[in-house]
Symmetry: C2
Subunit: 339 residues, 2 copies
DNA sequence: CGAGAGGGTGTAAGCGCTTGCAGTATGCTG
DNA sequence: CAGCATACTGCAAGCGCTTACACCCTCTCG
């Protein structure tokens, strides 16, 4: 591996100048800079990450905490983070957090403390009290996406408003018997978003003067299959069936769509279905949804962490822990209730 | 941050002993080891990654190259890698490779050369000649999953055999007019797996004495939507329609399932469908498939890279660039052809 | 024209570890 | 009991960078 000394020799300057020329810190004359860049390029020199980190205390590396790698929403957010950080020359180190207490413990007590990262992004993670404290103790910028956490800078969408928007869309189409698939209690132990969506749903109904009927709620686990099963329950119950279903995620909404189809209901003629997320399959299934732009969430989180890193600590953060955008996307799965 | 000196002082030994006790290299008496561990624990000491890397040349970090983060197959393999590596105390640094030439170039020319990783895993990546060379130049262990590459140690499933197995399953059920959804030529420019699957398909037909009809082939892009469209083509063509469809991925097979449904064909009574992968939705759709255990692929790759790292270079690698396992999973989407 | 302000550069002191080497203690062999 | 291998430990020299400090020069301004 070629080292900074060789570059210095080739360029006819000191290593200090090489370092300054390549990092852009401190003053270097245009001539020297050109010579250094030329030498570095022809030698194929790349600054050693560990040496640079050790000497400067900066790693150019961001840690990303993810609960599930293999679920669409998370991998999409991650994808947004990765591309934004890469553009800025940052590496990303991935910490996949399982439910396993021991493994989680290792992540917070060991992995994150190796001084390998300059900052941390936590994706939709419901962190325990102790875990949050560990994170704060790191004394690094931390950006959380999703799970609102009073101790952390958080980028969140207003889930109550999102759910309200979805519900109001159905109400505006004339629906009155609206079912909801969402938050199963045990899932909610460490994941509050579903509850907020349920709240938004109930608030919208209340505002419309509609009583919330427990029989129009069905818990599920945020998968297509879960949504399918929940919708079958909902549509199979005795008594008048719902004319619309609001699912707390697109995957569950797709499950509901498939369930309706299988039971012989036409969507949207016999049943309207709306979801939340902006899932890639939404278009294919012509699913009406409230898009929360997960790719964009990742990019924003990346920008936020870089900003936190680059602003001197004295400086006040430019913008508040952001509210993330969302938008109703009307496609073919919702329609006006036939008179 | 607490440093090794503080631990040494607290334990009443030299920093050398602390280092040895904590890393397990060299000899340390049981007593000293206990004292060091006790001191380290009570001080909350964790070895600094950059200092350790710089001094030892080992980073305890593996780079993972992924083409798409947000596709089920890749994120599942990644998930397998992540959990296996984490168990062994390794960090993982993610390099997401887009199609963008410039970005790819950066990854190979800069990111990977920062000496931040001890080894590299490349997931199903079709690398250019130059990219492969760059990878080899790094002089690090590299494990590739999928795309067979003569210059790299590769873990691959025998895609010809996989496709043959799927096709033979249909043949054994009496099907003779079997369509294939797979390799679209432009997709194949840098991705050979689809072609191999097509070969396996054609070989199986040839062995059964069945002529391969071009009209029974339809290219698609490996998504549900692509499979859906391709199946519609196949099922809508004049002339006798196929009695079975073999899709080169489960996602396309699911699309085919949905297309068949929409056209009013019953699966498996009117049409058998088989895919490849072992997709998480397979169970839900009762899809017959050839599972290639992507989670396991990731774990194997992780094991392979660690083995390469831990074996001295002199030592011959314990096992050959592996053949990965696969297995026919018969569910409800395939059935005997009615007489 | 002198003082002061920077720009441009090099020297050298670390950053926080790992590890070769050397020294001491201990155990085993013949 | 000499002779030698081996366990354990510490000293100190780096690993490859960054950056404080010092120094020299060139401008600008009063």
């Amino acid at each position: 591996m070629v080292s900074i000394d060789e570059v210095a020799r080739a360029a006819g300057v000191s290593t200090a100048t090489v370092s300054r020329a390549l990092s852009g810190r401190g003053h270097v004359s245009a001539g020297a800079k050109a010579k250094v860049e030329e030498a570095a390029k022809s030698l194929g020199y790349v600054v050693s990450a560990s040496a640079s980190s050790l000497a400067s205390g900066r790693t150019r590396n961001i840690g990303v905490l993810v609960p599930f790698l293999d679920r669409w929403f998370f991998s999409t957010v991650l994808s947004g983070i990765a591309s934004a950080l890469m553009r800025r020359g940052y590496d990303i180190t991935l910490y996949s957090l399982t439910a396993d207490r021991g493994e989680r413990h290792d992540v917070f007590d060991t992995f994150l403390r190796r001084q390998r990262v300059d900052g941390v992004i936590a994706i939709s993670l419901e962190l325990g009290q102790e875990e949050t404290e560990r994170l704060v103790e790191l004394d690094l910028p931390v950006i959380a996406i999703g799970g609102p956490n009073p101790l952390l800078t958080t980028l969140t969408v207003d889930d109550v408003a999102v759910a309200r928007l979805a519900t109001e869309h159905l109400l505006a189409l004339g629906h009155r018997r609206i079912a909801h698939i969402g938050a199963s209690p045990e899932f909610d132990i460490d994941f509050h978003i579903p509850t907020q969506r349920r709240q938004g749903f109930e608030l919208a109904l209340a505002d419309a003067g509609i009583e919330v009927s427990p029989s129009l709620f069905e818990p599920a686990d945020f998968t297509i299959e879960g949504g399918f099963r929940a919708a079958k329950q909902l549509l199979g119950k005795p008594g008048s069936r719902p004319t619309a279903i609001f699912a707390a995620s697109d995957e569950m909404a797709i499950g509901a769509l498939l369930a309706a189809r299988e039971l012989g209901y036409r969507v949207p003629e016999d049943l309207s279905v709306i979801g939340i997320d902006g899932h890639e399959l939404g278009e294919f299934f012509r699913l009406t949804t409230v898009d929360q732009f997960p790719l964009g969430q990742g990019e924003r989180a990346a920008d936020a962490i870089l900003e936190a890193l680059e602003s001197t600590d004295a400086e006040t953060p430019t913008h508040r822990p952001g509210e993330l955008p969302f938008e109703l996307i009307v496609r073919g799965s919702t329609a006006r209730l036939p008179q």
